[in-house]
Symmetry: C2
Subunit: 438 residues, 2 copies
């Protein structure tokens, strides 16, 4: 490779983040070029919408095109920044860019979670870089930290708040005691939740990011559909209040843990001790807690989304690539995600162990708690804590139980039996508890 | 440069961290070599003490020498890991290693804070790398984050808890209401504080790390003696209790801020809102809060010291260097710290602005608060909050005041006058407040 004095960048997608990428180049060009060690040129910007105004940008001054093929087919473009989002045509665009020997930067977590293995392999085959700092935890330089900073560690576990929308909703429910549906509406009105919030609140977006983190931290490619994923729509104000009473907070966590020769990978609402550093991650912020065998506990905190934080992460990748191009430094195949020589198999959800919070809705009669406790005992589950507040009414009242560590399979069996008890009204709420006693 | 199949490492200093570095190589060799893309050989280990047992290591199996010159003079050694500590002979060792064209990894914050400019310049001149992830915040991959992850940001401010000993002492004082000297003794007994704890508790160690962080985040080399540095020895249990009453926690913070065309750089006990993420950093943990113009607020949390966390950071650097050597990739001069084209001048301490906590010890007589408030007002300082609990005794009682934002010069002038008041007994305690209202 020869060195290059000016690196040409093609941008696919001028949405919110794309506009942020252009703004940073326009406002900080001298700084970026000094850090890259070369000049930077925005060779082309492709978007299907050439007319909608982007705040803070003069579209007429940009090399706009509505034809992505012109960017991908331009032999002068060294780096393609893919901010189209979604699976197609983003996947095809990236494959074509890689096949043309272009380096690619992407923020597309859904695409990497679905097709990462294919894309990394193509990048490896073509000898180029595929970088994705912006795909997980937005502005937090987390990918770099896991890949480079913790390179001498076996990662034991990670637990992340990686979806700002869910964390905003749960924080608001916790602070104000309001129910989920009300907070969701408010979040949509304020732009913290999408009009169709399914991907966020059902936990899929968190699962996407977890799939990517697991590929780096555990060197294994987990199939997205095998990640046990629960969203936050069934978390009630009552459960949040009980959590508080017990010394916990409820967060949507993306969890991966090495255990018993395998790796657990799961996304679900989780009770964590109120004193845990993750409990202090509130509002739209993200936080990722990682434990390595040498480094011990680490946490990374910051903005997981938004125009400028995400653009900051995109540029961290683009600058590193530009610097290498400028100095004739080749991309190294071993820097791309791959399955490690000692990759752990995915553990079936039924085999995981944790503590559980249960809210059983039962008739306020003598003997109900004893029957529930009996069923738990028969299934090898012991009780750590109970809150039962009889009201002397004929309505069902909550019996709240926190268990010691138990096996998921046993808990599911116990719940099936508990919910068939005559004095139990409706399905029992179960929320997993992590991080030790509150 | 040609590629190399086996990278030879020389280790200077087999103390606690050095032993950790060897342990990681011995226990994780296959993983490290896979990530570096080459074989790794520990060519030599130099220490003045060849006999003292190091827990978990078999010294007879190591290539020990008591002569550092043999490591520095060995043309086969590609990378020198300097863990001798202190200024000399560490400085001479590193200069000799660089002059011989060897890459250097160091955890030596004192040395970099004193002589960094000289060492970076020598590394640049010799075309080698000088890496120091382990020098600041131990296992937290912070250096990498600031240099690479935030490369597209102008850093606006940073505030760090970067000394675990001080944070352990302050946390213990806060949790248990015990006085400084008692906690220090306990910390020494438990190994959380050195027999001579001066460097830690006087804030110098924090100032060293701040000097290094500022060189990267603000691209300017601040002379260590120009960093305003106060330690924690004068923080009392009473001030900690008042802080709590006001909604604050007291932490020893290393602070740097861009303001008024300059940069403030200072280390002192600081009151921060109890809800701030930094307030949740307790015990021996470190936490560094950084605000960038694009990325917004970030925090990094983890173990700032200790054998294995620090060794983890050392290996993150050594692996990156080994990977480059193995693939014939040259060190880039622009990756070394340097003074930026727009480096900000250091602002004199007298010109900074913040809020202040004051504890005035005054006779419990009418009119004292009015005279204190009068002096503050004459010096352009307005009061946000007062706690005065008269006891009807003849002893001095505390008058606690939190001010709105004021200028340090004005505060110093006001304090000189307040302490000369007839009814004021002894010097007023002043603690700066950061992070907004509690």
């Amino acid at each position: 490779m020869t060195s290059v004095g000016e690196v040409h960048i093609g941008l696919l997608g001028l949405g919110t983040v794309g506009a942020g990428v252009v703004k940073i180049l326009q406002s900080q060009r001298a700084m970026l070029e000094e850090r890259a060690g070369c000049r930077l040129a925005l060779a082309a910007v492709a978007d299907t919408d050439l007319t909608r105004a982007r705040e803070g940008l003069d579209l007429r001054a940009l090399p706009m095109t509505n034809d992505a093929a012109r960017v991908l087919g331009d032999p002068g473009v060294h780096v393609v920044i893919e901010l189209v989002g979604g699976l197609e045509p983003a996947r095809t665009f990236i494959l074509r860019a890689l096949a043309a020997g272009k380096h690619v930067v992407t923020a597309n977590k859904a695409l990497l979670a679905h097709h990462g293995a294919e894309l990394y392999e193509e990048a490896r085959r073509r000898g180029v870089t595929l970088a994705f700092e912006a795909a997980v935890a937005g502005g937090i330089p987390l990918i770099r930290a896991v890949k480079e900073g913790l390179a001498a560690n076996s990662i034991l576990s990670l637990a992340g708040i990686v979806n700002g929308t869910c964390n905003y909703i749960l924080s608001k429910m916790t602070d104000e005691g309001i129910d989920f549906s009300l907070v969701l509406k408010e979040a949509q009105a304020q732009g913290y939740a999408e009009a169709d919030p399914t991907l966020d609140i059902e936990g899929m977006d968190s699962a996407h990011k977890l799939q990517i983190l697991v590929s780096l931290a555990f060197r294994t490619f987990i199939d997205l559909k095998d990640i046990h994923t629960e969203g936050i729509a069934r978390v009630t104000a009552a459960d949040i209040a009980y959590a508080r009473e017990l010394g916990y907070r409820i967060k949507l966590l993306a969890i991966a843990k090495a255990a018993d020769g395998g790796v657990e990978v799961r996304v679900h609402p989780t009770m964590i001790p109120a004193t845990s550093p993750l409990a202090a991650v509130s509002g739209v912020f993200n936080g990722v807690f990682i434990t390595g065998d040498a480094v011990g506990d680490l946490m990374f905190y910051g903005r997981g989304a938004g125009q400028m934080p995400t653009a900051s992460a995109v540029w961290s990748d683009a600058l590193e690539i530009a610097r290498r191009i400028a100095h004739g430094i080749p991309a190294l195949a071993l820097e791309l995600p791959s399955v490690g020589p000692a990759a752990l198999p995915l553990r079936p959800m039924e085999t995981i162990r944790c503590c559980y919070y249960l809210r059983v809705m039962a008739q306020d009669k003598p003997g109900v708690l004893s029957r529930v406790a009996g069923i738990l005992g028969e299934n090898d589950i012991s009780i750590a804590n109970v809150i039962q507040k009889g009201r002397g009414t004929r309505e069902a009242v909550p019996v709240v139980i926190v268990t010691h560590e138990a096996r998921e399979r046993d808990m599911r069996a116990a719940l099936a039996k508990i919910d068939r008890l005559r004095d139990v009204a409706g399905a029992t709420t179960m929320i997993r508890v992590e991080g030790g006693p509150a």
